[in-house]
Symmetry: C2
């Protein structure tokens, strides 16, 4: 970019330069990833997996191939979703912080539905359609995943059924209308549509529900109608994180345009899909570089990885052990950092971070010392005040969850100032906050 | 793009290929643009203009230069705002309509605040800052312009005061919080902050206000504090439309990547800033081509231009005459198609289209037969149903105003099917609807 007359504030690759393969970190992990297991008692969850998940995704979940081709059809869907998304240099924020750090943020907020969730939703729906399914089911908590799946089904010609935790469903009429505009059927959970839901709903029509209950309803619906229906999951699993590596792979190419490369890589972490998608290609560079192998980006540097979390759900500070992925114990056991699958977690605006466990891949890397974590107070005042500083300098409105990523990046930039170090800080903004503004108002009081 | 393996669904130019000049159509108009005039009676409005507007913008307003350089500082602001924005091929919508037409849409919805308004807000604030102003004032109706100006002041280090029609202000608490997050001071208008506002407010603290009253307050505030404060306007004026030509100029370069060029160019039209910004470079091609001159894009074709409007405010079907730009008669008279500056207009969700007059440049071109218009019923059922078809096929959520652009594009594509003509249709989506979802729900009833 030597012929640039003015300072580059943003860089993007061409539509033809969107990465054509996903990076699967499993073969590069420092030790083998502990496999999912059945609990000692009860029905086999593993045996049910083929009835629950899209076949191609189940294959990817277990794959040890380092690279997996992105089919042309998914590449085209990524184009329709507006990929590639620019990488921004936070020049105004750097100035406001008077930091020697160079700060860069990735713009997943430029997604059609407003979050990074569409990346795996499109992939899963593409494969589901190809395998002959006519409908997908899922659960949703905050609503971002349900919206992304509704979007992906609209683009791939599938039907979509969303079981939405009633306590959230009832106060987000706009998001519900949005899913319905996209063509989805949305049920407050527990619902009378499933046997499990009915057992609760018949006793209490205002039952607030939970993510665990909604997962159970989504799974029951898919398993009972498995001839034409399949379940989709938005985080935690290996294949979901792999689909999301498109974020980090694009970011690496964009850093080359800036002729820079990060010392610090930051994102927020609930189940791990956006943190993983952003960080895994950089983690791959580190793991390969350590072994003296050629790296993905061509760079090798010790990178500090920081997962930004809430003290409401600091799952990376939990215990590293086998646990269920859901409250209702329908899933296999996964080896992960967990707060316990029935842990109580205080409500926060960044509801997408309120999950008891971190994805097995990221948990292993945390266990091996590759990932640091910071947990912000659950009143969220610190996080939202820092997000406000970002908004007033860079002008973009982060989602409540993404505000944690912003806060951690600002904290690192302040450290750089204190230590007089000109580090390069990369952070991901996983979604926009146009539907979260009342959260800012509630926390900041204006 | 001969080496593309898959069908192109989206095209974008590089960050370094953002147009470096705005196109000023004034010297290419088929006849001289009638200048603004003073009304026969009362104080001179023209004499007040230098106290109202940024000097550089006033110069541009009168300029007869065909091209005006975009300063490096504004180019950098455009980068920070995420320009260039992709041009999408509406492949799924084409299929759903079973039309031979090729449909393309420009994605101004990928703006930081959600609309095209930021393009001129950034330019005006850049010049205001350079001229030593410390604060800008404005009015806003639906709220898009106020938000865009708040954003631009945040990025350029100015203060911002927004007078917001109380009737809208009171039911959009999220948008108000958003402007405040960006650092703006927002007053429901009429407000006690100005003499004119106070005269109304003191009699009725719940006075619903009007755009005319809010303009008057913004102007009074700027004129009274003209040592450090200036007024900014978001539409109608020549320099505003010129700043917006960045949209159409980018689009022309993107069409070259598709190896295509439009037969039909469509957008919605209230005062004219988004329609003008999108269409004027193509109108320039037509005007130059007719005279046998080299054109901007290198193409010359008879293009059909369609302005999508509401029957609530079909200003292009009004009378072509001199009229005030505001209800309160503070502005000079402009020669334009108008419904009368005190016309009553039924409320619609696409509130940004509810303006009595069309910009002088577009009015002249309409008068000379270059621009067609279509006005959709004010119940908006037809428009929103067509927008829903777009959402379910292309996945993006248009703003209520942009839904008119989508509806007109769909109508043209249906005509193409009926006539068996494979036309190329280009339409602009000026903003996203994340803050308009209740409008969809109200109109479509779900």
């Amino acid at each position: 970019m030597a012929n640039v007359k003015r300072q580059l504030r943003q860089a993007n690759i061409g539509v033809n330069e969107i990465p054509e393969r996903w990076y699967n970190i499993i073969p590069d992990l420092p030790e083998p990833l502990p496999p999912p297991m059945d609990p000692p008692k009860g029905e086999s969850r593993l045996a049910n997996l083929p009835k629950m998940l899209v076949k191609e995704c189940l294959g990817q979940e277990m794959s040890t191939a380092q690279w997996i081709d992105i089919p042309d059809g998914i590449q085209e869907l990524f184009q329709k979703a507006g990929r590639p998304r620019p990488l921004f240099r936070a020049t105004n924020l750097e100035k406001a912080l008077d930091t020697p750090a160079r700060m860069y943020y990735k713009s997943e907020f430029f997604s059609p539905t407003g979050s990074h969730k569409v990346n795996t939703a499109l992939a899963q729906c593409y494969y589901a359609k190809k395998e002959g399914y006519r409908r997908v089911t899922t659960e949703t908590g905050a609503g971002q995943w349900g919206t992304a799946l509704a979007y992906a089904t609209a683009l791939t010609g599938l039907k979509c059924t969303v079981y939405w935790v009633r306590a959230v469903h009832d106060w987000k009429p706009d998001r519900k209308s949005y899913m319905e505009l996209l063509g989805a059927e949305v049920y407050a959970s527990p619902s009378p549509k499933t046997e499990f839901g009915k057992s609760l709903y018949s006793k209490d029509k205002k039952h607030p529900g939970s993510l665990g209950i909604a997962i159970t309803e989504g799974l029951e619906d898919a398993i009972k109608n498995s001839s034409d229906t399949v379940y989709c999951l938005g985080s935690v699993l290996n294949h979901v994180l792999m689909h999301q590596t498109i974020i980090g792979l694009e970011t690496q190419k964009q850093f080359a345009l800036f002729d820079d490369y990060p010392d610090v890589v930051i994102s927020c972490l609930g189940g791990g899909s956006n943190f993983g998608g952003f960080a895994i290609p950089f983690l791959g560079d580190v793991l390969m570089g350590e072994k003296g192998k050629p790296t993905i980006s061509g760079n090798y540097k010790k990178i500090k990885f920081i997962a930004a979390q809430s003290q409401s759900a600091p799952n990376l500070q939990g215990e590293y052990k086998y646990d269920f992925a859901d409250h209702g114990e329908m899933t296999p056991l996964l080896k992960m950092y967990t707060l316990g699958h029935q842990a109580k977690m205080a409500p926060i605006k960044g509801d997408g971070l309120r999950y008891h466990g971190a994805s097995p891949i990221l948990s292993l890397l945390r266990y091996k010392g590759y990932i640091d974590t910071v947990a912000y107070p659950a009143d969220e005042k610190d996080v939202f005040a820092k997000a406000k500083l970002f908004i007033q300098n860079e002008g973009f409105l982060p989602a409540a969850e993404s505000a944690y990523s912003v806060a951690a990046a600002i904290d690192e930039a302040i450290k750089c100032k204190e230590e007089g170090k000109a580090k390069t800080i990369a952070f991901n903004i996983s979604g926009h906050g146009f539907m979260d503004i009342s959260g800012y108002r509630d926390v900041l009081g204006s």
